[in-house]
Amino acid sequence: MTVMEQRGAYRPTPPPAWQPRTDPAPLLPDAEPYRVLGTETAAKADPELLRTLYAQLVRGRRYNAQATALTKQGRLAVYPSSTGQEACEVAAALALEERDWLFPSYRDTLAAVARGVDPVEALTLLRGDWHTGYDPYEHRVAPLCTPLATQLPHAVGLAHAARLKGDDVVALAMVGDGGTSEGDFHEALNFAAVWQAPVVFLVQNNGFAISVPLAKQTAAPTLAHKAVGYGVPGRLVDGNDAAAVHEVLTDAVRRARAGGGPTLVEAVTYRVDAHTNADDATRYRTDDEVETWRAHDPIRLLERELTDRGLLDEAAIQAARDDAETMAADLRARMNADAELDPMDLFAHVYAEPTPQLREQQAQLRAELAAGQEGAHR
């Protein structure tokens, strides 16, 4: 029995202009997260793609470890690790074409790096030497966004603008499970649906918003279900299955590019490390829970699939590790060099032209520097 068949159900007469939805994509997500690794489907996956995903996962894991180590040395103010979530990060970057755009949140450094952003420049926000270290236009990666979900409407606007200009550009916007409770999540999905904007929303459901578990965040059966009310297809995928995330995202990107409108993808994953290095995760979860998820680790899953099928040998595994080690060594060396900062940059990018008021303040700071003072910190 459908809702409309129930006795006394709300049964409005459709207004004259009402049009039924014609998009054949089902709105409701499957009951179980979609999986590829360890299933029959895996045999159909492109071995080259799987090997690329593998190498990127290993690199991503190493990046997370190196960045976390840099916080201990005081080189980074803070680092929100995506250890355990590398499959989502890597698949996000690899599902896009060069002309597409990525809208990452603060946790998505890896996605930005996998898309080509310089590993050091991706860390300037967290290092504290500037807010965004890279030029967003170079690799079409928006600045890592700290206020939750606020980057989602930007992705919609950009995708909409691209379509108005006749470009077949897709925007992929990333958000956490906690971020789905924000108003901007709702407004972005609604705008995207009404405008049929070529946007894909990727929710990384890693179980927690700092300390708050999903059950205290939403009463929805899954976050993918949220799509239904907007008239947007919702997809549920195993976020630790790199092949599955890549496939689902690639489909959604293709659909958006073809004019099919937005998709909401929920990737079910787990945050193995604490929220950031500054957080104490033992206050809100058990070691048992973490261990269960470690058994479902994205690198292990993919490695098993590839080795079982003879697509990856010890040498290839070692090669991936060596490559990651080289990247980490380079990152370490460059992060250990002191950043050179120009205090006059404080005024450089507030407006296209500094206001008279800023010019006065600029002159004040210049004089202070000339006098050898350390500004207000003397």
């Binding site: 500037w130 807010h131 965004t132 030029d135 967003p136 236009y137 928006a142 600045p143 206020p147 606020t150 989602l152 409407p153 930007h154 992705a155 919609v156 606007g157 950009l158 995708a159 909409h160 603008a161 691209a162 108005l164 200009k165 925007a171 108003g183 901007d184 407004e187 972005a188 609604n190 705008f191 009404v194 940059d345 450089a348 990018h349 507030v350 407006y351 296209a352 206001t355 008279p356 008021q357």
Partner: protein, 334 residues
């Protein structure tokens, strides 16, 4: 050469014309907001734009201010120049997160790589008998946010000139439209190429010798009226219309105050924490030795905007301005 008659036009018509001319001149200019398309906006300021330029250029959005401004950010990132309408002053508040965290900061966050040329039109202020939430003067919030320009016209010609400048600006501009002046008329020639004013310049609307009234937007006509009335009392008042709150034109304002030696700041928004405090303080710092009296403020009371039947007691009117002017005879009092 044919001469076109200089006819009276309303401020609303000049604003519409400014958007129309900007849209015709630059295909990147897009107008979006609630009811801006078919209806032409609740104040009809976007009247005819959807018809002339199509719904892709003048778009009725879903009813969500954060969404409107947030999507405008993305559109600007992709090279468009969105002109966003917030339906009423107090309904811009849901968009403040986008405004403060992104619109105002994107250039700065990206070291100049990603400027956002967005114009945010906000009908503001009281005096039109609007019910709750339809009469706020929110300029202090905008002024307190680095990265935003804040502009407000008081004449029909300025409405056109400043809006063209705002749309042409590579920085975000909060364009405050004094609701109660929408239907005010001036002689204005909409057929001649219009003057585009640089943002950041104040103008002396009326010159005088005995004191300066520093004001903007809806309070400009009130100050001009007060200046006329003051003649009977032997006061020759100068009226400075700021036009731009950010950047602030210290030069024009201070030159005037140095000439007159006395100043009153007049605006509708609250006095405490309001723009007048900043302005009085700037003037005092720069013109202290020229001042014959403290810089006074005539502002709205420090209350939530009152119901329409009481608003006339709240809004700074001619009498209250004249009282302040009388108090400028400081030595005589002390």
């Amino acid at each position: 050469m044919t001469t076109v008659a200089v006819k009276p036009a309303t401020m609303a018509q000049a604003l519409t014309r400014a958007m129309r001319d900007a849209m015709a001149a630059d295909p990147a200019v897009h107008v979006l907001g609630e009811d801006v398309g078919t209806l032409g906006g609740v104040f009809r300021v976007t009247d005819g734009l959807a018809k002339e330029f199509g719904e892709d250029r003048c778009t009725d959005t879903p009813l969500a201010e954060a969404g409107i401004l947030g999507t405008a950010v993305g559109m600007a990132m992709y090279g468009l120049r969105p002109v966003v309408e917030m339906q009423f002053d107090a309904f811009a508040y849901p968009a403040f997160e986008q405004l403060l965290s992104h619109v105002a900061k994107m250039r700065n966050r990206t070291r100049g790589a990603m400027p956002l040329p967005i114009t945010i039109r906000v009908p503001y202020g009281g005096g039109i008998g609007g019910v709750e939430h339809h009469s706020d003067s929110s300029e202090a919030y905008y002024m307190a946010t680095p990265g935003l320009h804040v502009v407000t016209p008081a004449t029909v010609a300025d409405a056109y000139g400043l809006l063209r400048a705002a749309i042409a600006s590579d920085d975000p501009v909060v364009f405050l439209e004094p609701k109660r002046l929408y239907w005010s008329k001036d002689s204005w020639n909409p057929e001649q190429p219009q003057h585009v004013d640089p943002i950041g310049r104040a103008v002396v609307r009326r010159s005088g010798r005995s004191a300066t009234l520093i004001t903007y937007g809806p309070s400009v006509p009130v100050c001009l009226e007060a200046a006329e009335a003051a003649r009977a009392e032997g006061w020759d008042l100068e009226v400075v219309d700021l036009r731009s709150l950010v950047p602030f034109d210290d030069e024009t304002v201070c030159a005037s105050v140095r000439r007159t030696g006395r100043a009153v700041v007049v605006h509708e928004s609250t006095g405490f924490g309001g723009p007048g405090g900043e302005i009085a303080s700037r003037v005092t710092e720069r013109c202290f030795h020229h001042l014959e009296a403290p810089v006074l403020r005539v502002a709205g009371f420090d209350i939530p905007y009152p119901p329409p039947m009481l608003e006339r007691h709240h809004l700074p009117g001619v009498d209250r301005i004249l009282d302040a002017v009388a108090r400028l005879q400081w030595e005589a009092e002390s």
